[in-house]
């Protein structure tokens, strides 16, 4: 007969239990409240079920608070986050600073070559990938087919800004709360400056010449800003200088905008039957060009990255590889329908006939994603990468102030000339401080 020693059994249980606890890894993920991210949060339990040693802890924050938290966390090296949601502006800069873990050695099944080359490049620094894209976006023109039909107008697949102005003039009917065009006017480097930078690019302008000399008082900038201010003030909704992405989305979905130029990701919202009153009366065209198509549509990718301060980098990389994989897209399609797949990251998504049929905005999204090239976004050569931003650390600060100046011009509190002159001085001062120019 076997005799059991209760002490030994107790020790064995404790050892087993402690080793089980020791192997349990909690990954803290800092993220934003975008629809695709929320979906990932809900589906992440599938990953936990398949990896019993992993517990996922999502910290959802407002976009700007998240950016501030992540910057503080990285700078202080406090390691509060294992995975961070960042954009294509931060990825190359933070990667270059050594703040992010390289995204190398991905499994063959991940098929990194399936990612859009433009997105891959946008998330890399000197050829090294520092983040994997969760969803990507360019910009395009949304327009109301019913209003165009009634007015006998035809939207070309690639409109110019001047054509857009003519359409806006014809469709502007403020008495019936119908405005010719809705564009971002809210100050911010990621708000009005995103659309304004693409308008400037389309007019042949650029933020800096090859010597890093600011170009904000050049003729293309003047043409672009005068055009933008005149267009929105004449044919936009009242109070446009306070409207960002969400306000314009609300206006468009309520049927108040004949046209709207903004992120391709909105395609899913404007065609959503539960969110949009115009879901069956909307169509899509390319982001307007003018003297050039270069840089007329922006490029952005919400991505997942690992801060170098994380103590669980290997486990974090495995999770990111799963959350941005084809396998994850299949899971989303299975649970929420194929149109809900995170858009704008993988070529294979747009080779799927089922997806193209379910998402009417997909074809134009693909064209715009393919066209956007962050390393060649201006008519004349530029020393920087980025379409609607300049991938240097100082951009965020000076572009926000330039955004305030131009929002002021839109609101009528200053003239376009004054706003541009002030902006030029300000950007120049910042570039001198940064050692780019003397």
């Amino acid at each position: 007969m076997i005799k059991y020693n209760p002490t030994l059994i107790g020790v064995a249980i404790c050892t087993l239990a402690s080793s089980a606890f020791a192997q349990q890894t909690t990954l803290t993920i800092g993220t934003v409240n975008n629809g695709d991210m929320v979906r990932m949060e809900a589906l992440a339990s599938a990953y936990e079920d398949a990896n019993l040693n992993i517990q996922l802890d999502f910290v959802v924050l407002e976009e700007n608070v998240l950016r501030q938290r992540l910057t503080t966390d990285i700078a202080a090296g406090s390691g509060q986050f294992d995975i961070m949601t960042i954009g294509s502006y931060e990825a190359p800069i933070w990667g270059g600073n050594g703040w992010l873990v390289e995204m190398g050695n991905l499994p063959a099944s991940y098929d990194v070559d399936d990612l859009f080359p433009s997105i891959r490049e946008a998330l890399s620094h000197e050829g090294t990938l520092y983040a994997l894209p969760f969803y990507g976006e360019s910009s395009m023109t949304y327009y109301r087919t019913d209003l165009f039909d009634q007015a006998g107008l035809t939207m070309p697949e690639q409109p110019t800004w001047h054509q857009v102005r003519d359409f806006a003039e014809a469709l502007h009917d403020p008495g019936n709360n119908q405005y010719g065009i809705c564009l971002r006017g809210l100050a911010g480097w990621g708000q009005n400056m995103a659309i304004i930078s693409t308008i400037v690019n389309a007019h042949g302008g650029q933020w800096f010449d090859m010597d890093w000399e600011p170009q904000l008082t050049s003729q293309p900038w003047r043409d672009a800003i005068e055009f933008y201010v005149d267009l929105v003030r004449s044919y936009g909704p009242p109070g446009a200088s306070s409207n960002g992405f969400n306000e314009n989305l609300a206006l468009f979905n309520s049927g108040n905008c004949a046209m709207w130029v903004d992120a391709t990701v909105a395609g899913a919202f404007v065609t959503d039957t539960s969110e949009s009153r115009v879901h069956d009366r909307v169509s899509f065209a390319a982001a307007p060009s003018q003297v050039t198509e270069k840089g007329s549509g922006w490029l952005w990718a919400w991505s997942l990255a690992i801060p170098s301060s994380s103590n669980n980098a290997e486990e974090a990389k495995k999770f990111i590889a799963w959350a941005t994989s084809k396998e994850y897209s299949d899971l989303v399609a299975q649970e929420h329908g194929i149109a809900a797949i995170p858009p704008g990251t993988r070529i294979s998504t747009y080779e799927n006939a089922e997806y193209l049929a379910a998402a009417p905005f997909a074809e134009m999204t693909l064209k715009q994603m393919e066209k956007a090239d962050p390393s060649d976004s201006t008519l004349d050569p530029s020393p920087y990468t980025g379409v609607q931003f300049v991938a240097i650390p100082r951009f965020q600060a000076f572009a926000t102030v330039v955004g305030q100046q131009l929002s002021g011009a839109l609101a009528g509190s200053t003239t376009v000339d004054q706003a541009l002159n002030n902006s030029q001085q300000l950007v120049r001062r910042e570039m001198v401080r940064g050692g780019y120019i003397d």
């Binding site: 803290t28 800092g30 934003v32 409240n33 975008n34 629809g35 929320v38 949060e41 809900a42 802890d57 999502f58 910290v59 959802v60 924050l61 407002e62 976009e63 608070v65 501030q68 938290r69 503080t72 202080a76 090296g77 406090s78 509060q80 986050f81 709360n177 992405f245 969400n246 989305l249 609300a250 979905n253 309520s254 108040n256 992120a263 990701v265 909105a266 919202f269 539960s274 969110e275 949009s276 009153r277």
Partner: protein, 276 residues
């Protein structure tokens, strides 16, 4: 007769004015609750809809996605913990300054209040580094300490004001009867100024409950209170007004109920002195 009608008119004006101000203050809360019962598309309708078929889908969605009780419990522990610690420090400090003033007391009081004038972001990095090194990041204890220190100047000022109104004759009478300092505070001063101390405590609880800057910057998941819970429902790309309103309603509901229950105490403490 004329005098009587003048009095009635005055009272009527005061009543109407009070109601108007109360409704004005209450309107944002009313609108928030109303929006929380709408769908996203109803929430963005122009002109705004006053009559609609209410839905609880936003609340259901929130309870499905977020661990509300964890956030709420954090808020309760942090708000009460910081207010209790604040009170334990503020009462002796106010006692010393009120009953044993020196020539520097006024200056000290003003200096304490002046610390409230500095924007918190100015000390974010030093505090963050201190918290990192002491392991207080994302801990309830960390926020309790910060909030207690944050509310201390206001609590000391308020309690000091109540203590100053206690006639020294009462204390002298007590001393004649042979009470020591501890007994003087516990048996004479505290019972007399209980209303004021309670209102200081309630105010500290409300301020701690509503604080967002430190909560957002010093917590991640474990210690995040309801202010972080609200922030998680703002959305840079997508409609969120109805869902955010529901989250805000859930976040303010406990403190509104708490304020309502303690209203009598709060108003009495804020409007009357210690022995009036």
């Amino acid at each position: 007769m004329k005098l009587h009608s003048q009095k009635v008119a005055k009272e009527l004006t005061a009543t109407v004015l009070c109601w108007a101000i109360a409704l004005l203050i209450f309107f944002p809360i009313f609108w928030m609750v109303l929006t929380s019962l709408k769908t996203e598309i109803q929430a963005i309708s122009m002109p705004p809809q006053l009559f609609f078929k209410p839905t609880l889908e936003n609340y259901i969605g929130i309870f499905e996605r977020s661990n509300y009780t964890r956030f709420a419990w954090n808020s309760v522990v942090i708000a009460l913990g910081s207010s209790i610690i604040g009170l334990l420090l503020a009462v002796p400090a106010a006692y010393a300054m009120a009953f044993y003033p020196s020539k520097r007391t006024k200056g000290t009081l003003l200096w304490m209040l002046s610390t409230k004038m500095m924007p918190p972001v100015g000390v974010l990095i030093p505090i963050y580094l201190l918290f990192r090194d002491t392991g207080l990041l994302d801990s309830r204890l960390g926020l309790i300490i910060i909030f207690a220190l944050m509310n201390l100047p206001i609590m000391i000022w308020m309690i000091y004001t109540y203590f100053r109104e206690i006639p020294t004759e009462i204390l002298e009478a007590g001393r004649m009867d042979g009470v020591d300092t501890r007994q003087e505070i516990m048996t004479i001063i505290l019972p007399i100024s209980m209303g004021g101390i309670a209102s200081s405590f309630l105010l500290a609880v409300i301020l701690s409950w509503n604080e967002a800057f430190w909560s957002l910057n010093l917590t991640a998941s474990k210690a995040a209170p309801l202010t972080a819970f609200i922030a998680s429902y703002s959305n840079p790309e997508g409609l969120f007004w109805a869902r955010l309103s529901a989250a805000s309603t859930l976040a303010v509901a406990p403190i509104v109920i708490f304020g309502w229950l303690s209203m009598k105490q709060l108003v009495r403490g804020l409007t009357f002195g210690a022995v009036k």
